[in-house]
Amino acid sequence: MYAYDQYDQQMVDARVAEFRDQTRRRLEGTLSEDKFRPLRLQNGLYLQLHAYMLRVAVPYGTLSAAQMRMLGDIADKYDRGYGHFTTRQNIQYNWIKLEDAPDILADLASVEMHAIQTSGNCIRNISADQYAGATPDELIDPRPYAELLRQWSSFHPEFLALPRKFKICVIASDTDRAAMRLHDIGIQIVKNEAGEIGCAFYVGGGMGRTPMIAPLIRDFVPLDQLITYSEACLRVYNRYGRRDNKYKARIKILVHELGKDEYARQVEEEFAHLQTQGIEPPIAELERIKAHFTDPAFNTAASDEIDLSNADFARWVRANTAPHKAAGYAIVNISLKPLPREGVAGIPGDATADQIRTMADLALAYSFDELRVTHTQNIVLPHVKKADLFALWQALVAADLATANLDAITDIIACPGLDYCSLANARSIPVAQKISERFADAGKSDAIGELKLKISGCINACGHHHAGHIGILGVDRKGTENYQLLLGGCEGADTSLGQITGPGFNEDGIVDAVEKATDVYLANKQGEERFLDTYRRIGMAPFKEAIYG
């Protein structure tokens, strides 16, 4: 993975010094809250429901054991012993003090980490396929391109006061594991007919109040024009994105209002102009970055055999591992969605400092010192020898990290909701816990199979409910929490947006409604259909009938 050179380290150190100075001025009173707020947001620091919240960047979801260990130590030193992994592959701490924030950023900088632009009206963390560099189905590792874009977007002076936030995603396979079409810019690395590698640009996707799937704006941008074309996209947005209404300020509204062809034309014009300005790094820079992403030294004699005689282990292998491009290896998913145990329910995406450090140790021991954070709030160990899976699983069991529920109904994506977030209308975590309890029985959830359930506590959709096979949206109904049910969303290559079933429910009602929906699926399922497939085949009517009678 990428390692800073002296220049990267200088930049992140300068940023720490800048923020330390800004914080000092705020606390001394020479900088008002109005002026300070955008600055602290661009260092990931929110004022949230109970305290300041710090969102640390995990660039394209990749981190080393040492970095993961630091995240655990920060949870202990500055927070209350845990962290929350987010739907943009980052980590959040909920109990931060403003006066500690500069020191936290300094600690992060010591392991090549930061909280740069993880909030604010600027280009945010660039996300990528969590199986990058390990999956057999990718054209090429997308992360060097994400790193090139990360550096280009960091402190870019023209784009630090955009109309609104800007989220970019890079993938390199037809199997979209990163919800690419639901980003402001989604890039798929592709090969053209001449066999050249380049980038397909999808612009104008997003969730929130007005979910939209990004249309294709340009089917091929050569690799040596990636930065110039990206800059053209951003400049058109900075100049013409709406600034009159916060809820219409994302680029998806601009693309929708101009029409994709007109937006593409304006970008093409700007692109032609910018190509004369020499802003593209030389291809040697991409090659330099790529050199950090070569394959680890896979053992070519590693055995493909796994002894599955332990039933619990076998179940975990079936559920949580994925095929690896190297023979004898597997991709391992660590679920952060534990099932309730002895009356104690887990919290989706949360991990204790000890668990975080354990995962760091396991990455060092079993995965070539590398981990990934997924946008579904789980962790990936990308390169594990099949021969090591049993020992790894045993260590995960001991740390309460061996829940075998990847992509099952209990692998719930939930935003922090009204328990933590000042934007929320309803709590999302208790709903996730009740659903987890209802479907905790292994037989029940196994029968249902793949079902991506996503919960958002408000219309901002940080829980990605529009993209859930089952989605739940928390709303405020005359001062009480109420929940709407959506069906049929999907974030893969066949991206679709969930449709609302009808009137909302209270907390118990929504859990019953989810169960009724799964009952309809089980009653109508044909062959190997997943919930999503059955829904797409039979439509909303049977579900509506069962839920509302």
């Binding site: 050179d5 220049y7 990267d8 200088q10 930049m11 300068a14 010094a17 800048e18 100075d21 800004q22 001025r25 020479t30 900088l31 002026k35 955008p38 600055l39 009206n121 550096q151 280009w152 960091s154 402190f155 870019h156 002076p157 023209e158 784009f159 630090l160 006061a161 955009l162 400049r235 900075n238 100049r239 600034r243 102009h273 300005q277 020499g278 802003i279 790094p281 030389p282 040697a284 820079e285 330099r288």
Partner: protein, 143 residues
Amino acid sequence: MVEVQFRFRDDEVVADPAVTVDAFGEQTNAAAVRIEPGDDARALLPHLERLKLVEVNFPAFTDGRGYSSARILREAGYAGELRAVGDIGVDQLSHLKRCGFDAIAPEVELDPAEAETAFAVWPQVYQATGDNRKPIWALRHGK
């Protein structure tokens, strides 16, 4: 006229009153124009030779359109005074300079010591933005 607190040019401060973009189009002897966030900076490109001063207004520091306007003008070859005016704090100074502004007139005077620190925040830069600073990728590859 609000005082030009920071200036990076050797010539005299341009004192001509800046007219609006619309008025500038009509007054063939005007040499100073003010761009508002909603104006298209490219409307000035046919007139660059007679321009001594372009003011770019930032009514709110959170409206970043002026940064694009500045770069567009510099990219087109405008070499006259490019002055940022309006709601400008010390924390915007380095970004303004990077985008090509060589004169800054904040509506509220800034602390000189804080400003000096702010201009010097970035030991290096990641992007080529026409301010003559060599981006890191150029340093890495001997360009």
